[in-house]
Symmetry: C2
Subunit: 150 residues, 2 copies
Amino acid sequence: MDETDREILRLLQRDAGQTAEALGRALNLSASQAGRRRARLEASGYIRATVARVDPVRVGLSVQAFVQVQMASHAPEGARAFLRLLEAEPRVASVWTLTGEADYLLRVWCGDLAALNTLVHQVLLPHPAVARVQSQIVMDQPKRDSPLPL
Amino acid sequence: MDETDREILRLLQRDAGQTAEALGRALNLSASQAGRRRARLEASGYIRATVARVDPVRVGLSVQAFVQVQMASHAPEGARAFLRLLEAEPRVASVWTLTGEADYLLRVWCGDLAALNTLVHQVLLPHPAVARVQSQIVMDQPKRDSPLPL
DNA sequence: GGTGAAATCTACCTAGG
DNA sequence: CCTAGGTAGATTTCACC
């Protein structure tokens, strides 16, 4: 793992579809070496996956929101059940546990505000382990999903 | 844009490295058609990019945090300058403007807690347009970055 | 780092609804 | 007319030197 490997990761985070030859050109490296290094980075777990990033609005997901959830009790079985619910709910893209007040932070995608309200009031709030839910809707995204800083 | 296209987007969000033949097998479609549909989805903007997802911990980014920022004034020139700062700061991965109290929500990556503190106290807080900063560190991620629900 | 075989992509062509 | 499937040439990968 040297500076060249980090540069490869930087490039592949922006475009994973490049050929080994194009990678090599950007790095002053032969296509053989670029391809071999890329394969090694994938095999050794630096690259978890290569995925397509889909335009959310283009597929009808125009509302993005962050939802903070406070649990009624910190009993493990209640939390487990709630996490299973989140895991099975496709509109919930990510779940984090944070320091501070809220127990969970959720990032969710919905088609419209009504769908978000349904998710919050019909799915999340009714769960017995949940005490309080506060959702904040994304109005704008001045900086979006830049690659990891290497 | 039919159900087959949506299924292709679902598959490519999980693994964009599949061959057209593998895609076709999963869809009961010929490799020709699978490849052509994929090309069309890329050309028409449904697929913004195909990127490598790098393991953050593996590259030394062990601290992830959400930072809420409140501005001192809502004057446009101050906000512009602050956003330029965020744009130029690689540790800030994403910036959202939300409904509710905080003006901005930031998602940041740092090598350790000291680096996070440096970012908050030496970079964000000193900016003249910023009034208050509250950072919440990610302790765990029970559900991570699932594909968009199509 | 280079080379050649194997795999893959990407036109083009034909057929069917 | 649009969409599906097949085929061949070009491109890319990958194991070996």
